[in-house]
C-alpha cells in the first residue's frame, strides 16, 4: 500500500467528520472518494494533504507515518476545488511557483514549465492571468501547478465541480489520460457517481464520516455491501414491502427494497416478454424523454417504479396497461444490503 489511513478520527466541534476511517491505496492508482456532501470525503483529502490534522489515527505515505510532517514537506500536489490560482500571477508564474520555492535554477524552471504548458495544451497562453482563462483552462493550469514539483501523490478536491457540463465531460477523459500517462498516484473527491465510475480505477464510498465500501467501479455498482451504497447509485425506487412482487426469495427482517431502473423491464401487452408468467401488470403514470432514451414511470401493486426503454421500441402512452418484470432488487437488513434475483431467471424458460 502506498497511502494508508489507519483508524482516523476527526471532529469539528460536535460534528464527526471522520469515524474510524481506514483504507489503503496502491501506487499508481487513480482513486475516487465518492459520497454526498457532508460525508467527510473532503476532510479525508485535507488530512492526507496536511491541511487538517486527525484527532487520532495514523496517516502513512510510502511506509512512513506522516502525521507530524508539515504539509509542505509531504511532497503532495493539491488541486483545490476553486483552483486557488494566484490571481496576480501569470500562468507561467503560477506553474513556476512551487519550483521557485524549491530554489530551482531559472533554466530548470523554464524547461519544466514549458513541458507542463505543453502537456496541458496551453502553449501561447503563458503570460495570461487566470482571469483571462476559461474555466477548463484554469483547471488545467491548477493541475499543472500541482504537478510542477513532481509530487508522488496528487490530490484533487472536486476537480470538475466548477466547470459546465460539456467541458466537464472532456476534462474527465483528459485528466484520466494524463494521470495514466504520468503514473502519479491520485485521489480525487467527488459527489458525482457518474464521474467516479467513469474516471476512477477504484472507488471509496464515504457516508456519515465512515467508509462504506471500497472497490472497482463495477463491483461497487453491482455488489453494494451497505444499504447506503445500494441506494446511492442510479435513481433507485425504494419501498418497504418487496413481497408484493412474487418470485423473490424471502429474507427475514428486511427493512426496504431498492430497485434501480435498469432492473426493471416494461413491455407492452402485445410484446414478447420472456418471463410473462412472473411479470406483473402495471399502469403507466408518466413518460419522460431523456437524452438517451425514454423513462417510464409505472404503478405496480401500489408501488411506483421507473424503467427505461429505447427510442427503437414501440411507443407507450400514459394510462396504458403494461407488463412489468423485475430482474433483481437489493434488500437491506440494518446497514447491510443483499442482492436478490428473480427466481424465474433460474427456471427453465418456455417460449410460447
Amino acid at each position: 500500500m502506498y497511502v494508508e489511513l489507519k483508524n482516523i478520527n476527526k471532529h469539528f466541534g460536535s460534528f464527526k467528520a471522520s469515524d474510524n476511517v481506514s483504507f489503503g491505496i496502491e501506487k499508481g492508482k487513480l482513486i475516487g472518494l465518492l459520497g454526498p456532501s457532508g460525508s467527510g470525503k473532503t476532510t479525508i483529502l485535507r488530512m492526507i494533504a496536511g491541511l487538517e490534522n486527525p484527532d487520532s489515527g495514523e496517516i502513512i505515505i510510502d511506509g512512513k507515518v506522516i502525521n507530524n510532517v508539515p504539509a509542505s514537506k509531504r511532497g503532495i500536489g493539491f488541486v483545490f476545488q476553486s483552483y486557488a490560482l494566484f490571481r496576480y500571477m501569470t500562468v507561467f508564474e503560477n506553474i513556476a511557483f512551487g519550483l521557485r520555492v524549491l530554489k530551482k535554477s531559472e533554466n530548470e524552471i523554464k524547461e519544466r514549465v514549458a513541458e507542463l504548458v505543453k502537456l496541458i495544451g496551453l502553449e501561447g497562453l503563458e503570460s495570461r492571468y487566470p482571469s483571462q482563462l476559461s474555466g477548463g483552462q484554469r483547471q488545467r493550469v491548477a493541475f499543472a501547478r500541482a504537478l510542477a514539483p513532481n509530487p508522488q501523490l496528487l490530490l484533487l478536491d472536486e476537480p470538475f465541480a466548477a466547470i459546465d457540463a460539456k467541458v466537464r465531460q472532456e476534462l474527465r477523459h483528459w485528466l484520466k489520460e494524463m494521470i495514466a500517462k504520468l503514473g502519479v498516484t491520485s485521489i480525487f473527491v467527488t459527489h458525482d457517481q457518474d464521474e467516479a465510475i467513469e474516471v476512477a480505477d477504484e472507488i471509496i464510498i464515504t457516508n456519515k464520516g465512515r467508509i462504506d465500501q471500497i472497490g472497482k467501479p463495477l463491483d461497487v455498482y453491482s455488489k453494494p455491501k451497505t444499504a447506503f451504497v445500494a441506494s446511492f447509485f442510479g435513481q433507485p425506487n425504494i419501498f418497504k414491502d418487496y413481497n408484493k412482487f412474487h418470485s423473490f426469495d424471502t429474507v427475514p427482517n428486511v427493512e426496504q427494497a431498492i430497485v434501480r431502473p435498469e432492473f426493471v423491464k416494461v413491455t407492452k401487452k402485445n410484446e414478447v416478454q420472456k418471463f410473462k408468467n412472473s411479470a406483473e401488470e402495471g399502469v403507466v403514470t408518466d413518460i419522460a424523454f431523456r437524452g438517451s432514451g425514454i423513462e417510464i414511470t409505472v404503478l405496480v401493486n401500489g408501488e411506483t417504479l421507473t424503467a427505461r426503454r429505447s427510442f427503437d421500441e414501440a411507443a407507450i402512452a400514459v394510462g396504458e396497461k403494461v407488463d412489468v418484470f423485475i430482474y433483481r432488487l437489493f434488500v437491506t437488513v440494518g446497514e447491510n444490503a443483499f442482492l436478490l434475483e428473480n427466481k424465474s431467471l433460474r427456471e427453465p424458460v418456455v417460449v410460447i
Binding site: G50, L51, E52, N53, P70, A71, S72
Partner: protein
C-alpha cells in the same frame, strides 16, 4: 489563546503576538487605568461629581445638540445618498468626494472656519444677525458644527444599501401600478431605515465625544454652551483628575451603549439583506 486547529498557513504566533502586544500597550492598559482610577473612588464621590449642576447641564447640552444634529443628518444624509445614487447631474463626482471632507479636514480647522462663518461678522452669521438670530456661541452653533462632523456617517451608511437595491424591485412595484411616492414609502423607505438608523447612531456617538470643532463655536458658557468633553478638559486643566475621569466614564458608557445599539441594528440589517438575497 489557543488555536482550535493547526493551520498550514504560517505566522499565527508572530502576527497574533504583535497584535496582542500593540493592542495591550495602546488600548487595553490605558483603558484599564481609567477603570482602575475610578475604582479608587467611592460611589458617593462619583455620584456627587456627576450630579453637579454644571455637569448635569453639560450632559444635557451634549445630548440634545448631538441628538438634533444627528436627526438633521439622518434626513439630509438620506437625501444626499439618494441624489448621489439615483440621479446623474453635473459635478456629481465632486459632491460625492466632498462628502468625505469632514473625515479629512482637521476638526480644529473646521471649528474656526465655522466660527468665522457664523459669527455676527461672518458671511452666514451676518445674514442671520439681521433677524436677531445668533448662531455662533449658542447651542445652534454647536449643532451646526456637529452636523458638519456627522454628515458622512449617514451618507456612507445609506449609499451602499441604495446601490444594492435591485431596480427590479422598484420596477415590480411600478408594474403593479404603484405611484412613485407610494413605491418610495412602501418599498424603498423600509429598506433604507436600518441603514439610516445605523448612520444616525454612528453620527450620534461621534457627536457626543466631539471636541475640536465645537470648542471654538460653542463659546463655552457654563450652563448654556458647555459640552461634556469641555468640562472634562477644564477639570483636567485644574488638575482635578478624579472629576474628569468620572465624567469621562459616564460619556464612555453612553457611547458604548450607542455602539451596542448600532451593532444590534446592523446585525439585523445584514441578516435581512443577506437572508433576503
Amino acid at each position: 489563546m489557543k488555536r482550535t486547529n493547526r493551520s498550514v498557513i504560517p505566522g499565527f504566533g508572530l502576527t497574533t503576538g504583535i497584535t496582542l502586544t500593540i493592542l495591550s500597550v495602546v488600548v487595553l492598559i490605558p483603558l484599564a487605568s481609567l477603570v482602575m482610577f475610578t475604582a479608587q473612588m467611592s460611589f458617593d464621590e462619583i455620584i456627587e461629581t456627576v450630579t453637579r449642576d454644571r455637569v448635569l447641564s453639560s450632559f444635557r447640552v451634549s445630548f440634545t445638540t448631538a441628538f438634533i444634529a444627528s436627526l438633521i443628518n439622518a434626513v439630509m444624509g438620506v437625501v444626499l445618498a439618494w441624489v448621489l445614487v439615483k440621479y446623474t447631474f453635473p459635478c456629481k463626482r465632486l459632491i460625492d468626494g466632498m462628502i468625505e471632507l469632514p473625515f479629512a479636514l482637521p476638526t480644529a480647522v473646521a471649528g474656526i472656519a465655522l466660527t468665522a462663518l457664523t459669527a455676527d461678522t461672518g458671511l452666514v452669521g451676518g445674514f442671520f444677525a439681521k433677524f436677531g438670530i445668533k448662531i455662533a456661541f449658542t447651542q445652534v452653533g454647536i449643532t451646526v458644527a456637529l452636523v458638519f462632523i456627522g454628515i458622512p456617517f449617514v451618507v456612507r451608511a445609506v449609499q451602499p444599501v441604495l446601490e444594492k437595491l435591485d431596480p427590479a424591485y422598484e420596477e415590480a412595484a411600478g408594474v403593479l401600478g404603484a405611484s412613485r411616492s407610494r413605491i418610495f414609502w412602501k418599498v424603498i423607505f423600509p429598506e433604507i431605515v436600518p441603514a439610516a438608523l445605523t448612520g444616525f447612531g454612528l453620527a450620534f456617538g461621534r457627536c457626543l465625544g466631539e471636541y475640536g470643532s465645537v470648542v471654538f463655536i460653542a463659546g463655552n458658557k457654563p450652563f448654556e454652551t458647555e459640552i461634556a468633553p469641555l468640562i472634562i478638559m477644564s477639570e483636567l486643566q485644574e488638575y482635578d483628575y478624579a472629576s474628569a475621569t468620572t465624567i469621562a466614564l459616564v460619556m464612555l458608557i453612553a457611547s458604548f451603549v450607542t455602539l451596542f445599539l448600532v451593532n444590534l441594528i446592523q446585525t439585523r440589517n445584514t441578516r435581512i439583506l443577506k437572508g433576503g438575497a
